[in-house]
């Protein structure tokens, strides 16, 4: 083979190699990109499904709370007012008391109507929603609760706030239903770009490996995972249960 032919052959091989590299690169990157897009689409759909489910659960819980409040709070006040009216027939000077009771009932009713207004509910931030929840516990004497906020509130995605709220609502619901706790303390600590939520009760607690712990917490854990928040629930029998939820706002790559 002549020298010139060898050079020609080498150049042909190099050219072929370059074309092959371009084709391989194009195919591999395109395939990987499509795969990632499909995965992202799936994750987005799963998130939307979970979000819708969460919103339905919050709505159900709200309806349950309204029913409770109407029955236990406003209903009781109206019953008391009725008794007072009946008694006022004999002693009309007690009518002031009746007016006061009806006034309290009306105030409670107004507060409730404000709370269940969908527009008002939509615009609530996590801090406001939690504050209302804690106020309600105290008002209805479900459990003595405190709510503390530290730091400057962060501008968070509302969808993420809904999920965080639902996780906490589930924890509160478990505390009220099962823990027999007398106190509940909730702390919201904003430390940009992270939010750390701590909720503690002094109830009966449960063993970490109990079936209750397994089933009850799985849902909360799944939701926390969905928004890439860290959830840790610790419990000691006869001492109480504590929840620690940390969520950091994702930082955009520079």
């Amino acid at each position: 083979m002549e020298d010139e032919e060898i050079v020609g052959l080498i150049m042909a091989v190099v050219l072929l190699l370059l074309v092959a590299v371009i084709i391989v690169l194009f195919t591999v990157f395109l395939k990987r990109k499509n795969k990632l897009i499909v995965a992202q689409e799936k994750a987005k759909k799963a998130f939307e499904r979970e979000l819708a489910e969460t919103q339905i659960e919050i709505r159900e819980e709200t309806l349950r709370n309204i029913s409770w409040e109407l029955h236990d709070n406003i209903g009781q006040l109206m019953t008391l007012a009725k008794i007072q009216v009946q008694m006022a027939r004999q002693s009309p000077e007690n009518l002031d008391e009746v007016a006061e009771t009806i006034g309290t009932g009306l105030t409670e009713l107004r507060a409730l109507s404000k709370l269940i207004n969908p527009e008002a509910l939509k615009s609530l931030s996590l801090k406001e929603a939690l504050n209302l929840e804690i106020e309600r516990f105290n008002r209805l004497n479900f459990i003595k609760s405190t709510f503390t906020v530290e730091g400057e509130p962060l501008n968070m995605d509302q969808q993420k706030e809904i999920i965080l709220f639902r996780i906490l609502q589930e924890f509160f619901s478990n505390t009220i239903k099962h823990s027999k706790a007398a106190h509940l303390d909730v702390l919201l600590k904003y430390d940009s770009p992270c939010l750390e939520i701590t909720a503690k009760d002094d109830g009966v607690g449960f063993a970490q490996d109990s079936k209750f712990a397994g089933i009850g917490l799985k849902n909360m854990e799944n939701r926390a995972q969905l928004i890439e928040a860290q959830l840790r629930i610790t419990s000691e029998e006869n001492i109480g249960t504590a929840l620690r939820l940390t969520y950091c706002i994702p930082q955009k790559n520079v």
């Binding site: 050079v7 150049m11 190099v14 590299v21 992202q40």
Partner: protein, 214 residues
């Protein structure tokens, strides 16, 4: 043949000049990254391409300036890949590659005259090592969500250019060593070299333009 080479030489200089211009115009897009020295490197390269022969005629040699450029070019890209690779093992890999490059440079300095001759071993070794860096970077990209915005990734385009250039030019360089005396083959290899330069700086310009659109 001569006309083709003349046209390609002009085109390659245009490609280099365009890349330099784009790197200056869109400097603000990448000035906070390791690529901040890119305009200096491209400026040096452009001046060398324009005044390379004049320099040879004036001082009697120009290999020194090309050797310095190649050395800066390789070290710059090692630094860039070290900066942009995220995986610790890959960063360590780049450090090892730099070590290998330095060894080849030492061998070159012993074998060749740095002022009057083009360095060979470090050029070929450096080219191969840059190809490895590009592959590491591409693998990292493929395993992250960065693959979704690869058109806007300046280093992706630079990587494509470097990969194609060195995969094409290293065989050309080696072939040139053995067949440089043949006029016809020398011309063929020169054409190939010019085409590869156009591809390399074309990719640089494309990356900078996409970066501007981001």
């Amino acid at each position: 043949m001569d006309a083709v080479i003349a046209i390609l030489e002009i085109l390659s200089k245009v490609a280099e000049g365009t890349a330099l211009l784009a790197s200056i115009l869109f400097y603000s897009k990448y000035k906070h990254t390791a690529l901040k020295f890119l305009p200096i490197l491209l400026g040096y390269m452009f001046l060398l391409e324009i005044f390379g022969w004049q320099l040879y005629n004036y001082v009697g040699f120009n290999a020194l300036f090309y050797n310095v450029f190649n050395l800066c070019f390789y070290l710059f890209f090692f630094y860039v890949f070290y900066y942009f690779l995220h995986k610790r093992s890959n960063k360590k890999g780049v450090v090892i590659l730099v070590g290998i490059f330095i060894i080849s440079l030492i061998v070159d300095l012993i074998t060749f005259d740095f002022v009057h001759e083009s360095l060979l071993y470090s050029y070929i070794t450096g080219g191969c090592l840059i190809v490895i860096c590009v592959i590491l970077y591409f693998l990292e990209m493929l395993n992250s969500s960065r693959v979704l915005s690869l058109r806007q990734d300046l280093l992706f385009w630079m990587g494509i250019g470097l990969l194609l250039f060195y995969m094409g030019y290293i065989p050309v360089k080696i072939t040139r060593l053995y067949f440089a005396s043949l006029q016809n083959t020398f011309m063929t290899l020169l054409i190939m070299h010019q085409v590869l330069i156009i591809i390399l700086y074309g990719c640089f310009t494309a990356g900078l333009l996409w970066k501007m659109k981001k």
